[in-house]
Symmetry: C2
Amino acid sequence: MGTVSNVLTGAAVVSPERRERVLTVIRDSGYHPNFVARSLKLRQTRILGMVLADITNPFFAQMVRGAEDAALKRNYVLLTFNTDDHVEREKHAFSVLRSQRVDGILLVVAPGPKKPSHILDMLKTGGPLVCLDRVPPGLKVDSVTVGNFAATRECVRHLIALGHRRIGIVAGNLNLQTGRERLNGYLAALRDAGIKVAPELIRKGDFHMESGYQLGLELLLSKRRPTALFVSNNLMTIGVMRALAESGLRCPQDLALAIFDDMPATQVLQPPLTAVAQPAYTIGQRGADLLMDRIESKLADRAPVTIRLAGELKIRESTTGSRPGKGDSNLEPRVLGGGGKIPLSI
Amino acid sequence: MGTVSNVLTGAAVVSPERRERVLTVIRDSGYHPNFVARSLKLRQTRILGMVLADITNPFFAQMVRGAEDAALKRNYVLLTFNTDDHVEREKHAFSVLRSQRVDGILLVVAPGPKKPSHILDMLKTGGPLVCLDRVPPGLKVDSVTVGNFAATRECVRHLIALGHRRIGIVAGNLNLQTGRERLNGYLAALRDAGIKVAPELIRKGDFHMESGYQLGLELLLSKRRPTALFVSNNLMTIGVMRALAESGLRCPQDLALAIFDDMPATQVLQPPLTAVAQPAYTIGQRGADLLMDRIESKLADRAPVTIRLAGELKIRESTTGSRPGKGDSNLEPRVLGGGGKIPLSI
DNA sequence: GTGAAAGCGCTAACAG
DNA sequence: CTGTTAGCGCTTTCAC
C-alpha cells in the first residue's frame, strides 16, 4: 500500500489520523519492513561490504569497529569477509558481495597480481570502492592509509638518537605496501644518520607470529647481534617476544626493542614496549564515511581522495631503559607519550 | 528468462549448447546474479546475522572467525553487529537484522531485562536463533557455551593444590551467565577444599580493563593481600597486569596469577600466565552450523540443542614458579600443556 | 490528500 | 527441453 510507504519514509504528506492508524497497526502486528523488497526497487541495499585480511588481528578488528560505528550512524550495515590475504578468497568475496548488491566495498587488499581483474571491474563499472591500510599498486582509488614510512623512520631515529648503530629489523611481507614502506622508513633513518646498512640485520618476515619467532631467534643468536631491534607489526612482535624469552637475553639491557602496531597488551609487558600506534579505528571510520559519501555521490566525480593518517610513536621502557655501550648518556629521548608511571621492574 | 535461471541453479536440465551459450554471455558481460531479487522470491537471503558484544575483544573476534568460516562453507555470509553489551543496541540490531530478512541470528546476549521482547518475538515467530557464550536466563534456546563453572573450579583447585589458601578473585559482570558461573566455580573449589570464603578477597568487576586495574590495585595493596589471584577474563587481566607492575609486586614470587581466557600474548608475558583457554573459534563454528541446520530445518522440530564445550587449563609459570609460604614442595602440579620450554627468567 | 497499478530481477509453474 | 508468465513486497507515478 502506497500510504504505508509514505508513512514510513515520510516521502509524502499523510493526514495525522491515517498516519496514526497505520503506525499502531504496524506496532502490534510485529511488522518489520522488508528491506529486501525495498532494496530491489531502490537498487540500494544500505549494506557495505568489508573485505579484510583477518579480523582476529586486533588491528583489523579495530578498523572494523570504526567502520561499523560510522556505518550505523548513517543507517548502513557491514558485511565482512576474511581473506587471510589470499587473492582467490578476495575474488570470491567480491563476487558474493556484488551479487548481494552491496552499495560499496571497503577493501584491505591482499597481495596479488598487478592487474587484479575483480578490482578493475569494480572500478570500471563505477562500483564505490575505498581501500584501507594498503592500496593496490598502480591504481587510482579512494584510500585511507597510515604514514608507515614517516612513522617507522621516526621510530628508528629514536633508536639512533639513543646511540644505537647496529639496529636490526624484522620486516613484514614486502609484497604489501605496508611491509615495503616500513622497511624503507628503516633504511631512510639509517641513511640519514650515515649508518651503513648491514644486510644480515634485515630479515624478511610475513607479518605472522611464527616468522617473528624464527627471524627473531636468528637475529638474537647471531654472532654480532644487533643492540636494537625494530619489529614491523604486532603479530611478529609476539613471536619475537617468545624468541627473546628463550634466548635468555634481557630487554632493554641486552637489546632495545621497538615495534610497529601498539596493542593493549604491549603496555603491560615487562618492560612496556616502545611502539608506533596506528589509528586503526579512525582508518575504518574515515574509510566508511568516504565510501558512503561516494555512494551518495556527495563527492560527485571528484578524483580519488587519498587520506593519510599519522602513526604515533609511544616511547616506553623497552628502548629507554638502558643505553648501548658507548651511547651518549646525556642524549635524552623525546618522550611523546605513555608509560610514564610504570616503574622499571626487571 | 527461465532458462538462465535453470543454468545457474541447475534446477532443470538444459541442453549443452544452450547452456554453453548462456554461460559465455554471462562471463563476458560481467554479470552478477541479483541475490536481492532472488532473496525476495525465495524468502531466503543466505545472510546470517551475528550480534555480539565487541569484536575488538580477541575472544569474540575468534568466534566471529569460526562462524564466518562455517557460514562460507555452506554459502552463507555474515552480517555483524556490535552491542557493547547494551540491550538497546541489541534491540536495534535485531530490528535491522529482521528487516534485512537474515535467515537466522547468532547472538551473544547482552545483560538486560528478564523478558527481552526482541528475543521472545524472534523465538515466537520461529526465527532461527542460536545463543553463543551466554544464554538469556530462563529461555529455552539453541546454544553453544563453555563450561565456565568446571573450568574455573579446576583452575582454582590447581591454585589450592599448590598450597594457596588466600585466593582472591576479580569477578566479571555478575549480570552475565559467564560472570556468575566463573564466580561459582571459584566458590565451589574453595568449599570443596574446606577453605573459608573471605568476602574481602572477592571483587566484582565488569569484564573491562579499567575494572581489572582498579580492583587489582585494591587487592594488591590491601593489608592481608591474597597469595594467589584468579582473574575472570582477558581484558581485566590486562588491567591487573598494569596494577601488578605499579604495585612493585612480583609474580609468581609475591602473587600467583591464573586467568580465564588465554590470549596469544599471555604466553609471552613474563612470566607466562596460567590460563583457561576457551575454544572460541569452535563456539562460532558449531554455533553457525547449528543455526544453519535449523534454517534448513534439518533438525525438524527437535527441542533446543545445548552444546557445552570444555575450557582447557594451561598451566604456566605464573602459578608454578613458586610456592606460598608453607606449601607442600613435593606436591607437583599436573601440567596440562603449554609453556614447557620457556625458562623462568625473572 | 488517497488508492490503484507498474515494475525492480528473480524463480517456479506451466503450456507448448 | 524451451519460452512465457505470475508474483515476492516495496516505491513511485498517476488518476482521482
